[in-house]
Subunit: 216 residues, 2 copies
Amino acid sequence: MTGALKLYNYFRSSASFRVRIALELKGLGYDYVPVHLLKNEQTAPAYAALTPSLLVPTLIEGDSVLTQSLAIIEYLEETHPEPPLLPADALGRARVRSLALDIACEIHPLNNLRVLRYLVHELKLSEDDKNRWYRHWVEEGLAAFEKRLTGDTATGRFCHGDTPTLADITLVPQIFNAKRLDCRLDDKPRTMAVFEACMAHDAFKRAEPSACPDAA
Amino acid sequence: MTGALKLYNYFRSSASFRVRIALELKGLGYDYVPVHLLKNEQTAPAYAALTPSLLVPTLIEGDSVLTQSLAIIEYLEETHPEPPLLPADALGRARVRSLALDIACEIHPLNNLRVLRYLVHELKLSEDDKNRWYRHWVEEGLAAFEKRLTGDTATGRFCHGDTPTLADITLVPQIFNAKRLDCRLDDKPRTMAVFEACMAHDAFKRAEPSACPDAA
């Protein structure tokens, strides 16, 4: 499949990392096209024409341009159903999607690069206040996530049962970021056990930031 | 169907509004349970036990507890497929989901009540700076959304073709909020034309905040 799919992404972007994990879990090869966010490569006219939001990742398949990590992963799930990243039953699917959205809508948007830049450059927040903001949303969000995992027998070795799903794919990049910013994690043992189970899995390891060509 | 479904929600919450629209489009009756966010009713122990994130909406169906508006709507789509809120083709579904996520992940999370409260109470932002923050993300996000709508022949009377989808369901509540906060909208004519088409539709009208029992 190499060459058929092209992923514009950035090694440290959570949303990019999600799509890389999904591609690895599905066993789909892809061309890696780095977009260096710190160098503002996402604002280059060619990329802006592709992705008006100037966000990564963007997946190209033939003439089709796909954006938004969770929409891309749902697309991959529909077009390459094996192995499944969503449970077979509607309630299970709803649980997995809602766990993924608990991170993708409630934690990550508050802490991505453009938001942190706005806090510092436009609102003149100190570095300390910016980091307090960051940790607040990660810790509050993951505390709620931990309650959901511990309070439901559907939780297994992974967030939902014993195989990786969209929920794990969304969780792992958030934990990487939480570690980088020294967020408290030792009070979330179930979440961290799931994270460790994921990181023992080759697909997650192959997708991690340090394994990316632009990580150097 | 009244009585079978119970929706914990708040009239002014965007995410609640999305689910109300979907229920109306599907023709599903439901019991409306108000959770007054300004009075912090979401922190009451009974609600916190149901929804650890303390967010609305929560949909109850029998013994099942469903959270996260987009996951709830995907569930309704799977369990009550008519009328469809997603296109039949995988690429169309990816486009609709990505438009919805452009709002649900890039605009709304930055502007919900708990975030605005944190900016004012914890980071001591002025009312002016808070409103500037609000308008910045709405205007930047909707400008990118407008480019996507105008740049794609798949856009019709609604965001995707001529029937309402998940993208319209997510757009409309965001426009209601944008209007409340005096965000600039006159430079987004295609987006606003879609908004007007939605508001000419009974299901959207029946779901709007002013039609809710807790709006008084």
